[in-house]
């Protein structure tokens, strides 16, 4: 009865479509995340941020949303790993000379690598905040200040955000293409929007640890 779903989910195009959809939903999450983080810049004492965290924590659907988010990540990662492994198998003997006709980019060929780096960063990020939720909820802003006083943490965050930028640089127009959206009037705009969006989002995310490190660097 569900043969068609099985066929879809296991086909090359179906898997890529699922990757695109999960990726786009994750981008939606990132947008919400960055919007929340921007409250850090709303004032000097972090009260806006604290209020924001409190309101989020109070949401009754939060556990469900978190579970959904985790599922998105897992599906996206699973599909990425599977596709990458299968694509490697598709060329058992590699070329000895390397060359190109100039279309592939560092971002497009490095999707798996940037994805792995993002995953590493994500784990660190979860360890820093999500797994210390009780502590964090107690004093969100101070947790931020505390975390970004450590140079290695900031470095990991900056690397993670850079990888995110790389990933998104390719991801948005790639998702549009995978989902069948390619149109001479809009595709160039999507390409450039996607690239700029990826860079801006990465810069914004990277700005938080950097700004906090600089701002509070002298106190410790």
């Amino acid at each position: 009865m569900l043969r068609w779903i099985d066929r879809f989910a296991n086909s090359s195009i179906g898997r890529k479509a699922l990757m695109a959809v999960t990726g786009l939903l994750l981008i939606g999450f990132l947008l919400a995340h960055v919007a929340g983080n921007l409250t850090l810049y709303a004032d000097q004492d972090g009260s806006a941020f604290n209020a924001y965290v409190e309101s989020i924590s109070a949401l009754p659907i939060l556990p469900l949303a978190e579970a959904g988010l985790a599922l998105l990540f897992l599906v996206h990662i699973y599909l990425a790993v599977r596709t990458t492994l299968e694509n490697r198998k598709a060329r058992p003997v590699a070329y000895q000379a390397t060359g190109t006709h100039g279309q592939k980019t560092l971002a497009s060929t490095g999707m798996f690598v940037s994805g792995v780096v993002i995953l590493g960063f994500l784990i660190k990020h979860l360890l820093d905040f999500r797994l210390r939720k009780a502590e964090f909820d107690e004093a969100p802003h101070e947790s931020i200040v505390e975390a970004f006083q450590h140079m290695p943490t900031v470095a990991i965050y900056v690397v993670g955000c850079t990888a995110l930028g790389f990933h998104l640089f390719h991801a948005i127009q790639s998702a549009a293409q995978t989902l069948g959206f390619n149109h001479p009037k809009y595709t160039p705009a999507i390409l450039w929007f996607g690239r700029i969006f990826g860079i801006v989002l990465a810069l914004l995310f990277a700005s938080f640890p950097l700004v906090y490190m600089v701002k509070n660097g002298g106190t410790h």
Binding site: F8, A90, H101, Q177
Partner: protein, 251 residues
């Protein structure tokens, strides 16, 4: 001019292959790349060495027989050019030229630079046609086709089936080839009747052949000697999603 050729030699599908080096003098800039291989082979036969096997036929860029990866580039450095149309004036005296066959799990090497591309035929057989028996066609002008659609369909239909897209794809995907056919027939009214069954069957076959999956590097269209546009793949993706979620095919 004189060239230092590094060519993949492999006796048959089962044998181990390796790069062998040949010096070739007297190469004229007016020669095509295949003519350069011709004179190499003349020389090799004279020396009692087996000539280098390579597929070729029309030598004017339309049959799709020829193809090799030259210094890492599919069909060599030019754009919209098959190997037979590449000329030696693109090379300089003393250059080293590395020549390798298409590399794909679905294209096993038959000998030297010759690979087995019958996987493409099987993809076509899965659904790359309009089911119209000879004699049953209505008058050709009964279905007007907007000129831009006819032109676009031609852009897709121009695919010569050389396999360069697979060879150029970092993933060894056959998406551009399959999409060219799907998009060609999806663009024309004659092909719309069977569009859902067609795309499902052709993509299934493509996957079964062992090609990789598209991750949108777009190397295929850049290497394509006919410049089959990349939106063919978007069209195929759209057709596939449509067939999966909106049609009654493949329940």
């Amino acid at each position: 001019m004189k060239l230092n050729l590094r060519i993949w030699r492999q006796k048959d599908a089962a044998a181990e292959g390796a790069i062998e080096t040949f010096e070739l003098d007297g190469v004229s800039p007016d020669m095509s790349f295949l003519e350069m291989l011709d004179i190499l082979n003349e020389k090799l036969v004279g020396e009692g060495t087996d000539p280098v096997a390579f597929d070729h036929d029309c030598r004017e860029g339309v049959c799709g027989s020829c193809g090799a990866v030259v210094n890492g580039q599919v069909h060599g450095p030019d754009t919209e050019t098959t190997l037979c149309q590449l000329h030696m004036r693109r090379f300089r005296d003393g250059d080293t030229v590395q020549i390798e066959p298409w590399r794909s799990r679905a294209f096993p090497v038959i000998r030297d630079l010759v690979v087995d591309r019958t996987a493409f035929d099987r993809i076509q057989q899965a659904g790359g046609y309009v089911s119209v028996d000879t004699g049953s066609a209505p008058d050709a002008n009964i279905l007007p086709v907007p000129k831009p659609d006819a032109e676009r369909a031609f852009d897709y239909a121009e695919c010569i089936g050389c396999g360069g897209c697979v060879a150029a794809c970092p993933n060894g995907a056959a998406m551009l080839f399959t999409a060219a056919k799907v998009a060609h027939l999806a663009t024309l009214p004659q092909g719309k009747v069977e569009r859902d069954a067609r795309v499902l069957a052709m993509v299934t076959q493509m996957d079964e052949e062992g090609f990789g999956a598209c991750t949108n590097h777009y190397e295929c269209t850049a290497a394509c000697p006919k410049g089959v546009p990349i939106d063919a793949i978007a069209t195929m993706n759209r057709e596939y999603l449509r067939a999966t979620f909106l049609s009654k095919e493949g329940v």
